[in-house]
Structure formats: structure tokens, C-alpha cells
């Protein structure tokens, strides 16, 4: 089953862990950046100040502007490649050389003074350096910041990458760790899922992890209660079956005797009608009991056994043969040797029901065939006939309890296919209701697996 991620323990752990981890990462990156970027800035500023000092020293020695330009070009090489640099020299506040519009800071207690500015459309870092000589020479040198920005960016990227790798590593470790820690719980879940829904034996509480031990204990208590209830129910049903069967058996056999003794024709008709009603009542009681006993809540797991389908068909056909012959129906079989794991009496009940239905509804001269075999690796039992069949729009409805196809002749209680459906579900089998190439009816029970028999065993 696919559950949304946030509804798993892993998902929740991640949801609780991920935001704080991301915050921690951000804080880490910020701190690393701050401590890493300051030296870079200082190194760049130092180079800028050196250039300013070199130009100022030359200017003090009274060099001409042309010479100063050459010095500036030389110091430019001291600065960083790829960065554009500008300079201006003032003497007693008057322009001496360089770019006249380059900003100059007022030099006070701090000398040199660094500041950020905009010059000719780009961001620049500027240093202003003042000599304390009589000429009051002041030099400003500026450098475009693109280069130093790139350097700090490289630093930032490398730090973020390291931290992201750490974060991913941490999350992966948490993910794997949680998976390992949850393994016993998942095993427990599998153990419960693998059990047949009818299995009510207790789970092993000792090997369960501490966190779920209480759950396992409570589950076991529930299993025990359910088991007890189903045993009580079964006991009750067995008693009820006996208590109902005996008087019904008495009623029916007395009617049989009355009919056999031969009375006048009118009374005989009444007696036959009375017998049919009593027979229906007995049939319905039997069907209800079967249905109740096939209830999934009833503990049937230890009733599972291997059943030879061929032998079952032989038995069921033999039991119904005289009834079929009496109605002029050709009842036959087609057996491909196969065994299934099932509750034998339930499957027998199902097959009896299906054959009974077929004989009930197929007119004289019709054919009923009981089949077993393997198709697609799955064993199947089927009853096919060439009678009126079940219309496609009725095939779902007939699985309901007490449903009878409208205008069906004869008397039935509408439980036959409901029982078959219930029993099929109990065995994890599919009940397919269809026809035989557009004719009649085919009711097929496909089991989840098959145990094939060597053909010699069927003899």
C-alpha cells in the first residue's frame, strides 16, 4: 500500500528534522562566510592602500603628472588582474593629476579611509590617503569590485557546497538509521499481513520492539477474545443445527411415510406440496447454517487441508446423479487432476450448491458438467450447463444474500451463490459467473494456487 510520505514514521522524522537542519546549515554558512570574507576584504584593501601610498610618495617627490600616470599604471599591475583602477591626486585640495571626478574622502583621525562608491557606472572600492606634509597631498585610488566580489562568491559557494554535502549526508544517515530501527516493526507488520485473516493464534510479544510490545499484547488479547467468541458461536451453531435438523427430519420423514402409504389423489397433492415446503425450510436452514459457519470470524485456519478435486467431483456427481437422471439431465464431469488447499467441507458444500442449482434450473434434456483443472497456474472448480443461464446484468446481484433473479421458476432461498461467494472469499478465490460461449451458465471458482497431481494418482 502506498501511503503519503508525511503519514509514515520516516516522513514525520524527516519533517521534524529537516527544517532545524536547514536553519543550522544557513547559520553555519553565514558564520563561515563572515569569518572567511573578512580576510579577503582586508587583503584587497591592503593592496589598494599600497597603490595609494606609492602614488603619493611619487607625487611628494614633485613628479610631473605624466610621470604620475606611469606610476599609476605600474601600481595598477600591483592590484588585481581583471579589475579596473582609477586614481586622483590633489595638492592642498587642488587637482594635480588623474581622474578629476573620482570621489575623495575627508581624512580625519583615520588614515587611509576606505569606502564604497559608484564611479562611471560601476561599483568601486575607494581608498583616500593623505600625507601630513606642507603640500597636503591627498591621493584617492579606486578599484572596481567585480573581481573581489567574484572571490568572495567563490568562497561562499565552496562553503555552501560543503555544508549541503553535510546536510545530505546527515539526512541519508537519518533515513537509513530510521529504516534499520523500524525494521522489527515492519517485520511485525509483515507477519500480521501474511497471516490469513482467519488466523487468531497469538503473535510473539517477546521479539517485538519495546515501543510496540503493548500493541502486540493488546492485539493478542483481541485475537484471544475473537477466538473465544468464534468458538462459542460455532458451538452454538452446531447445537442449533442439531436442534433444527432433528424435528425437521421427523416432519419430512412423516410426510414421506404418509405419501408412501398412498392416500387419495387430492390429499396426495396436498401432502406433496407440504413436503416441498418442509424441504425448502430444511434447505434454507441448512444454507443459513453453512453461511454462518463460513463466516470469516469463525476460526477455520486449522481446518485447511489438501483436497483432491477429482475425488470431490466424483463424490458430488454420484450424490446428485439420481436426481439429475430423474429430471432427464445428463450430469457429467471433466477432470484434470489437481489438488487445492481449502476447507474441504466448505468446498464440498459449494460444489453441492452449484450442482444443485444447475439441476434445479436446467430443463430436461440439458447437460451439466462439473470440471476441475489448472488454468494460468491456478486450480479451478467449475459447473457448466446449457440451461437458461444468468443474464449479464444479474451476475453481480446473485451474489447477494436472499437475492433471486426475478421470475425464476421453482423454489430457492437465494442463498446458494451467496454461500459460494462467501466461501470463495474465505479461500482467496475468485468467483466468476458467466456463460459457455453465450449459452447456459458457467460458475467458476478460481483458487489462488494449485497443487498438481501426477495423473497416476487419480486412478
Amino acid at each position: 500500500m502506498i501511503r503519503p510520505l508525511w503519514n509514515t514514521i520516516r516522513g514525520r522524522l524527516l519533517a521534524y528534522l529537516l527544517p532545524p537542519l536547514v536553519l543550522l546549515l544557513a547559520a553555519g554558512v553565514y558564520l563561515d562566510y563572515e569569518t572567511g570574507a573578512a580576510p579577503v576584504r582586508d587583503a584587497y584593501d591592503h593592496a589598494l592602500a599600497s597603490a595609494a601610498l606609492a602614488i603619493a610618495t611619487h607625487a611628494q617627490k614633485g613628479r610631473q603628472p605624466a610621470e604620475l600616470a606611469r606610476v599609476a599604471a605600474a601600481t595598477d599591475a600591483l592590484l588585481h588582474p581583471g579589475a579596473r583602477s582609477y586614481y586622483v591626486v590633489l595638492a592642498s585640495g587642488h587637482y594635480l593629476a588623474g581622474e578629476a571626478d573620482l570621489p575623495v574622502a575627508r581624512v580625519g583621525a583615520r588614515n587611509p579611509v576606505f569606502f564604497d562608491a559608484h564611479f562611471r557606472g560601476e561599483a568601486v572600492r575607494v581608498v583616500t590617503y593623505s600625507l601630513t606634509d606642507p603640500q597636503r597631498l591627498t591621493v584617492s585610488v579606486a578599484e572596481s569590485t567585480a573581481e573581489r566580489d567574484r572571490a568572495t562568491l567563490r568562497l561562499l559557494v565552496s562553503e555552501v557546497l560543503t555544508d549541503v554535502v553535510q546536510l545530505v549526508g546527515t539526512v541519508a544517515l537519518v533515513w537509513i538509521g530510521v529504516a534499520l530501527a523500524l525494521r522489527p516493526m515492519l517485520r511485525l507488520g509483515d507477519q500480521i499481513a501474511m497471516r490469513s485473516p482467519r488466523e487468531l493464534s497469538p503473535l510473539d510479544a517477546q521479539t517485538a520492539p519495546g515501543e510496540v510490545r503493548l500493541l502486540v499484547t493488546e492485539l493478542n488479547r483481541l485475537f484471544a477474545t475473537l477466538g473465544e467468541a468464534s468458538r462459542a458461536q460455532q458451538h452454538f451453531l452446531a447445537n442449533a443445527a442439531h436442534q433444527m435438523r432433528t424435528p425437521l427430519a421427523g416432519l419430512l420423514i412423516q410426510l414421506d411415510l404418509l405419501i408412501a402409504q398412498g392416500t387419495d389423489a387430492n390429499v396426495r397433492q396436498e401432502l406433496l406440496a407440504l413436503r416441498r415446503s418442509a424441504q425448502n425450510l430444511a434447505h434454507t436452514a441448512d444454507q443459513l447454517l453453512t453461511l454462518a459457519r463460513a463466516d470469516p470470524a469463525v476460526h477455520l485456519a486449522d481446518e485447511f487441508a489438501t483436497l483432491n478435486c477429482g475425488k470431490l467431483i466424483e463424490d458430488v456427481v454420484a450424490q446428485n446423479l439420481d436426481r439429475a437422471l430423474l429430471k432427464g439431465i445428463d450430469l457429467g464431469a471433466q477432470i484434470e487432476p489437481v489438488q487445492v488447499a481449502c476447507v474441504p467441507w466448505l468446498i464440498r458444500e459449494v460444489l453441492m450448491n452449484l450442482v444443485d442449482n444447475a439441476i434445479r434450473y436446467v430443463p430436461a434434456g440439458g447437460h451439466v458438467t462439473v470440471r476441475c483443472g489448472v488454468a494460468g497456474g491456478r486450480a479451478y472448480l467449475a459447473v457448466e450447463d446449457d440451461g437458461p443461464g444468468i443474464a449479464p446484468d444479474q451476475r453481480q446481484a446473485v451474489r447477494q444474500r436472499f437475492y433471486r433473479v426475478p421470475n425464476t421458476p421453482g423454489s430457492g432461498c437465494g442463498l446458494g451463490l451467496a454461500i459460494v461467494d462467501e466461501v470463495a472469499r474465505l479461500h482467496g478465490a475468485n468467483l466468476e459467473i458467466g456463460d459457455c460461449g453465450g449459452v447456459g451458465a458457467r460458475v467458476r471458482l478460481r483458487f489462488p494456487g494449485a497443487v498438481e497431481l501426477p495423473s497416476a494418482d487419480t486412478a
Binding site: 443445527a241 442439531h242 435438523r245 432433528t246 424435528p247 425437521l248 427430519a249 421427523g250 416432519l251 419430512l252 420423514i253 412423516q254 414421506d256 411415510l257 408412501a260 402409504q261 424441504q279 430444511a282 441448512d286 467431483i313 466424483e314 456427481v317 454420484a318 446423479l321 439420481d322 437422471l325 445428463d330 450430469l331 457429467g332 464431469a333 471433466q334 477432470i335 474441504p344 467441507w345 464440498r348 458438467t369 487419480t458 486412478a459
Partner: protein, 221 residues
């Protein structure tokens, strides 16, 4: 023919008794396993009908006791217990048949007839179905007291069918019956033998083909 009914339900017991009496059986009814044991010691019966849910001693232990002292008496169990386990256990103990209540009188009569016939066939080595007589010891077949000539294989098939009257006999089992080395013969040869046998028996007996399963000799012609 004498039948012992062991049944504690008065209504069912007396009705079964009268029903069987109507068809010529002499019936004795007891309502406990102890009384049944006493009756079986003092009298001869051709068949016993036993209910499982008896007061005090259970019907299953009665079946076991009957089998220990009398190997041939046919025992038909008629009970309200319908579980496969009960059915299998009781048949394993030696009961010849297991019917779940409610039982139709006609079915009970048919079963009684078949079991008595089978027991007699074993006792007398002779099966009689209508006008057909099969002498198992003398290996002789008669139709209306006229002797009928059969080949060895035809005889073996009829012998098997006659000792299993009213039951389905698979082709494989018939093949085993006619040949000591069944792998030398095909199932078709069984079909051929049966069809010749049918022609010879004519209307005296009816061998039905049960599609996909085999043949059955009807117990009423």
C-alpha cells in the same frame, strides 16, 4: 429382511420403522447403544440404521463395537452431524454409509436396499438385479434364468459393476479389473467391452455412461 434402528428420537424412529415396514422389512427399534448391543447379540439382522447423537454411549462407539463383533452387517449412519470430520471418522470406523438428516424416506430405502444387496452378494456370492443374476463364485450370468455367454473381459467388467451396484466405476478401475498389465490396454478397450456387454445384456440391466467419470450399473433395471 430384518433391520435394526438405533435412534433416540421417537418420531423419526417410529416413522422410519413404519416406512421400512411398508416395503417389507421387519424392523426392530431401540433407543440406546446398550439396547442395540443386546439386540444384536440375541438376534440376526440384515442391516442396522444408527443415529450418532445417542444418550449415554455415543453412536460412533456403537459403530466401532458392531464392526469388532460383526464384519458383514451393513451399518447406515443417519445423523444431524454434518461435518466432514464426523463423516470421515465414522466411515473409517466401518460404517457403510453416512446420511445427514433430514433424509428422504425414498433415499433411505434405496440405500438400505443397495447395502443389503451388496452384503448378500458377498455372503451368497450372488447378485440379483431384476432378472439379471450374477453368480460371483460360479462365474455365471443368467438373464431370466437363461445362461448368458460372456468373454473373460466382459465377465470381469460385469463382476466389478455388479459388486458395486449403484456406484460409479471409473474407466481406470475397470481397466485394472480386466488386465493385470493395464498399461498394455487403452481406455478405449474398456469402452469396447462395455458396449459389447450392453448388447448382450439387452434390457435386463442398464449400464449407464457417466460422462467424464465412468459407468454405473443401475440397481433397478
Amino acid at each position: 429382511m430384518r433391520v435394526l434402528i438405533v435412534e433416540d428420537d421417537e418420531v423419526i424412529a417410529s416413522t422410519m420403522s413404519r416406512g421400512l415396514a411398508l416395503h417389507g422389512y421387519v424392523v426392530e427399534h431401540v433407543s440406546s447403544a446398550e439396547a442395540a448391543s443386546a439386540a444384536l447379540l440375541s438376534e440376526q439382522f440384515d442391516l442396522a440404521i444408527v443415529d450418532l447423537g445417542l444418550p449415554q454411549e455415543d453412536g460412533t462407539s456403537l459403530v466401532r463395537r458392531i464392526r469388532r463383533t460383526n464384519k458383514t452387517l451393513p451399518v447406515v449412519v443417519v445423523t444431524a452431524r454434518d461435518s466432514i470430520a464426523d463423516r470421515v471418522d465414522t466411515l473409517d470406523l466401518g460404517a457403510d454409509d453416512y446420511l445427514v438428516k433430514p433424509v428422504a424416506l425414498a433415499e433411505l430405502l434405496a440405500r438400505c436396499r443397495a447395502h443389503i444387496r451388496r452384503a448378500r452378494a458377498i455372503a451368497n456370492s450372488k447378485v440379483q438385479i431384476g432378472s439379471l443374476g450374477v453368480d460371483l463364485e460360479g462365474r455365471r450370468v443368467t438373464v431370466a434364468d437363461e445362461s448368458l455367454d460372456l468373454t473373460r473381459r466382459e465377465w470381469l467388467v460385469l463382476e466389478y459393476l455388479a459388486t458395486n451396484v449403484g456406484r460409479i466405476a471409473s474407466k481406470e478401475r475397470l481397466l485394472d479389473a480386466i488386465s493385470s498389465a493395464p498399461q498394455d490396454l487403452s481406455l478405449n478397450s474398456v469402452e469396447a467391452v462395455v458396449s459389447r456387454l450392453r448388447a448382450k445384456l439387452g434390457k435386463a440391466a442398464r449400464i449407464r455412461t457417466i460422462r467424464g467419470l465412468g459407468y454405473r450399473l443401475d440397481d433397478e433395471p
